[in-house]
């Protein structure tokens, strides 16, 4: 089936070439990072994780969201999703690939990455994250590909894939839970030290992932000669609505606990995040955009007439994605480090090369999505 990715319209060719260019630019700057060291980024002694790890965290959520298609279809026989579960699985494959790439480009000594496996450390959450992420990647490649191949031959998928698909459901929850534990298990960082971290991650993942899927379905309908069906899209829209509402609720619950208890070690971080601290306002400005977009998107999604209007739905989905990207892909990681254990406020600003590498990895993921979706659409349209 792979050859199907190679043939396409002119627009398809230009899009892939454009992504390739971005990947190449990112790779060029990665080579410079290898040469100079991670000091080429905006990270510092105080803010020692930045854009890379934040993207990783956000994308784990996108990857986990495939479960929102697989679960209704395979466990509840919700037929409308039958056409698009593979899209969810392929999205997961691309997202996990990006995750692993982001962790890799964040390593100070990538040449020693294999030490993770040579010296397995079961007490380290990062060790488990590597295990569950690679497992999830494998599961989704195998199930997505096998089901698509049977589709192509016009036969039902082999019996052995069903258990694997069912296994991928709890596995999806595990990848985001373990990723949340990276943060919530650290004693000294008040911002992350909260049991609601994993539920919050899952709620925001089930909003941002399906929102992206809706956008992808709308794009496929417009440019890809593939219609996911109104029922599927509208059901996804409801999932986004509930997940977004839950996600906002969790954040509010967090805010209440922190600001009503008024424990300074917890309060300072959230003040920095939402209002700025001692004149450091950059993140707070981003968060204002995030909060406003989330509320606006929620309003659009809650009103049935707006939700059923395709353009408004698309707008709402862009809003959900943007809002949660700011929250997780920018705010969550950096704020854990500010103020530092020494109570100093160090601003973090990604550098040009760092941004180029980040865009490069995203382009790599988008390219994977494009190629996999192209194969999917070609197979489906042959039937």
């Amino acid at each position: 089936m792979l050859e199907k990715a190679l043939r396409g319209s002119r627009g398809y060719g230009i899009w892939v070439a454009f992504l390739l260019l971005l990947v190449a630019v990112g790779f060029f700057f990665y080579l410079r990072q290898l040469d100079y060291g991670l000091g080429i980024t905006g990270m510092s002694r105080d803010v020692s994780w930045g854009l890379y790890i934040a993207q990783f965290t956000f994308l784990v959520g996108i990857a986990a969201s495939a479960v929102m298609l697989v679960l209704p279809y395979y466990l509840h026989d919700f037929k409308a999703f039958g056409k698009i579960t593979i899209l969810g699985e392929f999205l997961a494959v691309s997202a996990v690939t990006m995750c692993i790439t982001f962790v890799f480009v964040d390593l100070g000594r990538p040449d020693r990455a294999v030490n993770l496996l040579l010296y397995p450390s079961p007490r380290s959450v990062l060790f488990w994250d590597v295990i569950v992420l690679s497992g999830y990647l494998l599961l989704n490649i195998v199930t997505g590909w096998t089901v698509l191949e049977s589709d192509k031959k016009g036969v039902p998928p082999p019996a052995w894939v069903k258990p694997l698909i069912v296994l991928s459901i709890p596995w999806a929850v595990s990848i985001h839970t373990v990723t949340a534990f990276i943060y919530s298990g650290l004693p000294g960082r008040g911002f992350w030290l909260t049991a609601i971290m994993a539920p919050r991650f899952l709620a925001s993942a089930f909003a941002s992932g399906p929102a992206l899927l809706i956008l992808l379905c709308l794009i496929l309908r417009r440019f890809g000669r593939f219609d996911a069906g109104d029922k599927a899209i509208q059901t996804l829209a409801k999932i986004v609505t509930y997940a977004l509402a839950t996600s906002i609720f969790f954040v509010l619950a967090e805010l209440f606990t922190v600001f009503y208890s008024q424990i300074p070690g917890h309060m300072h971080h959230l003040t920095y995040l939402f209002a700025g601290l001692n004149g450091h306002h950059t993140i707070a400005r981003w968060m204002a955009v995030s909060a406003a977009t989330a509320v606006a998107a929620l309003v659009l999604l809650i009103i049935p007439r707006a939700r059923k209007n395709e353009s408004l739905l698309a707008l709402a989905c862009v809003g959900v994605f943007l809002s949660l990207w700011i929250e997780k892909g920018l705010g969550l990681v950096v704020t854990g480090f500010v103020p530092s254990p020494m109570e100093t406020i160090t601003d973090y600003t990604p550098t040009g090369p760092e941004t180029a590498i980040t865009i490069g990895v995203w382009a790599l993921g988008l390219m994977l999505i494009t190629l996999l979706y192209k194969i999917f659409v070609s197979v489906r349209n042959e039937e």
Partner: protein, 263 residues
């Protein structure tokens, strides 16, 4: 650095204490093949017996510090080839001087006398009894020795910086770029690091192995720092700990810091 008369007296004190624990060689240096023993001092014929302890600990008495003195920092950073980047972004340090309000935020209030708030407080890795940095390290490049010293293996570290997020004290530094051009005078007896690995205070385990007390302790002319076995009632640290109230940084986190402050 050559052991001084005072060091010898201390060493004599240590050797008087019979300790059962075997000396654990440093993995880090074994792998590098870097010599860990051998004193260059003309005053010493052959290496001294290694200093051993059940639990190494340090006491810090900031009230004894002279204003503007940075001898401990200079000695440590010279001994361990710690680079000086002169900018906060790349900064690497093993020991530094901080204000009381930053070291003990929970104990700080507006009525503290200036004699306290103005004090320079030396901070370094606490060699925690229950170290989160060790727990999170995915390669065991950070590990705790039997004598309590929390060590780094610079040859195994992958530079993921999980340990930096986990340390509640900001004790760890990352080599964001090649440190070697920024080391003022390279001490050939101690390895330099490469870009991309994390480093921190090692309680001078390389000196202990040669029978010498930590560089900062020796460098402090005001005896603000003391070092010894906290399980040994006759050690320098116990002589101090046994007679007054000592503070540890953020004890509520359960990390069990072994650097004690007397204020």
């Amino acid at each position: 650095m050559a052991p001084t008369r005072r060091e010898f007296l201390k060493i004599a004190g240590f050797s008087a204490v019979g300790l059962a624990l075997p000396f654990l060689p440093s993995l880090a240096f074994d792998q590098a093949g870097t010599p860990t023993a051998g004193s260059s001092s003309p005053a010493v014929q052959g290496p001294l017996p290694a200093l051993k302890a059940k639990r190494w600990a340090m006491t810090v008495e900031p009230r004894k510090c002279r204003p503007d003195c940075t001898d401990c920092i200079a000695a440590c950073h010279l001994e361990h080839n710690v680079p000086d980047f002169r900018n906060p972004k790349d900064d690497i340090h093993w020991i530094s001087l901080e204000k009381v309000e930053h070291v003990f935020p929970a104990e700080t209030h507006p009525r503290l006398p200036e004699s306290i708030t103005k004090l320079p407080v030396p901070v370094l890795c606490n060699h925690c009894e229950n170290p989160p940095c060790v727990r999170v390290c995915p390669t065991q490049a950070t590990f705790k020795r039997a004598d309590g010293i929390v060590m780094m293996d610079y040859h195994r570290c992958i530079g993921c910086r999980f340990c930096m997020a986990a340390c509640p004290y900001g004790s760890r530094s990352m080599n964001w770029r090649d440190p070697r051009p920024f080391v003022r005078k390279i001490n050939p007896a101690f390895p330099t690091r490469t870009k991309g690995v994390v480093e921190k205070c090692n309680f001078c385990e390389e000196r202990l192995a040669r029978g010498i007390l930590p560089a900062c302790v020796i460098a402090c002319k005001d005896k603000a720092l003391a070092f010894g076995d906290q399980e040994d009632p006759r050690s320098d640290v116990r002589l101090i700990l046994d007679k007054c109230l000592s503070l540890r940084r953020r004890p509520e986190l359960g990390t069990g810091p072994r650097v004690y402050y007397i204020l």
